[in-house]
Symmetry: C2
Subunit: 201 residues, 2 copies
DNA sequence: CGGCATCCAGAACGATTGTTCAAAAATATA
DNA sequence: TATATTTTTGAACAATCGTTCTGGATGCCG
């Protein structure tokens, strides 16, 4: 049953994504609630009623990012197609996303770097996302190895850790102004090192 | 000629390193000048007289980090010994440093992630440090390739970008609580992928 | 219609921020 | 000793922060 009263005049997830964009761009401490309300296009009171304050809003934005961006690469890794093609697709996608001039890196990586490590809630959330990424990588790697598409002298779990580290490192480099040339170079070297043929990048 | 007057009662570089530790741990926005003066053990006025405020102090801490930590791995990369041994030494050193329980990752990586990208001064400083790291890696890689210690089918510059990305990614992961197992795993996979034999890690 | 839930605008809250001012105490050089 | 410079302590600055309160307008439900 719908509650009696005036319905929300704004799309909650749209507002959440707007907030995520601001946090993504300026970091947690760098964004004020004034920035948020103008970017989200809602009143300050609505922000507190709906999201419960700045910190809760940030946590929701982080979860939303996990359900969107992380889940999308998760889908690619566990999707159909040859396992080696899925691995290549992930890195190619990352290269495209991160090399754009106004790229802001990875929201999760930024959260990992700038948030208080003693904040248990954020640490747990980020750890979960990162672990699910590593697991998906590991299983795709194991599949590729089992069909002789990838050298099998390296433990899939350890290789998965390394590949996510590459992703995070490139996402960090994506914040620098010179990302247009460094990101594709890093992706190219990674794929070459894995023995994955590259069409053109 | 020494200036007439009461000499400084504190060691300037020691205070700078204390400030760097705080910035390193809590980030720029996360540290207040009150945190700084207590950690540095000096008066608030002395901080402004000697370092010229919070922002200048942060810039000096960043430069100091560049002259210490970055320069030390630079020395290893360009130092004596077989080129492949120097590459391995760098990663082993990183693994040791980052896997300790209270590791704070890489100061430069943190600066890259949390500082305003529009801050030209910080961007230029970090870019310089990163580029010098990449260059040192590239030349060590090229040397290793020229003596058949490393596969030579990959461009040294691109491989260097990838390796620094791995370093930054692992430094980011080093901030997470589970760094004790993930960091050595990532380093192991990286060295194995390069075909560098690993003693025991 | 009448109550309820939401919206917006704006003022105000206390707390903390980075920074500066002021005066007394300390120690070097001349 | 006298002068100059720095140190320390403590107070105060204006600005911004996240948050809450107030009031009035709006629209769905029963």
């Amino acid at each position: 049953m719908a509650p009696a009263g005036r319905p929300k005049a704004f799309d909650e997830t749209a507002a959440l994504e707007a907030a995520m964009a601001v946090f993504w761009d300026k970091g947690y401490d760098g964004t004020s609630v004034a920035d948020l309300v103008t970017a989200m296009g809602i009143g300050r009171q609505s922000l507190y009623d709906t999201f419960g304050g700045k910190r809760n809003l940030y946590l929701r934005a982080l979860r939303h990012y996990g359900e969107r961006a992380v889940a999308s690469t998760l889908d690619v890794l566990t999707g159909p197609g040859e396992p080696i093609d899925r691995l290549r697709a992930v890195f190619q996608n990352w290269a495209e996303v991160q090399a754009c001039p106004d790229c802001k890196g990875c929201f999760m990586a930024g959260a990992l770097a700038q948030l208080d490590r003693k904040d248990a809630e954020v640490c747990a959330l980020v750890d979960d996302l990162q672990q699910s990424l590593i697991d998906a990588f590991a299983s795709a790697i194991a599949q590729a190895q089992s069909v002789q598409q990838l050298r099998d002298d390296i433990d899939p779990a350890e290789m998965a850790v390394m590949l996510t580290a590459v992703g995070h490192g490139l996402a960090l480099a994506g914040r620098a102004p010179s990302n247009g040339t460094t990101i594709p170079a890093g992706v190219r070297a990674t794929l070459a090192l894995l023995g994955i043929p590259i069409p053109t990048l």
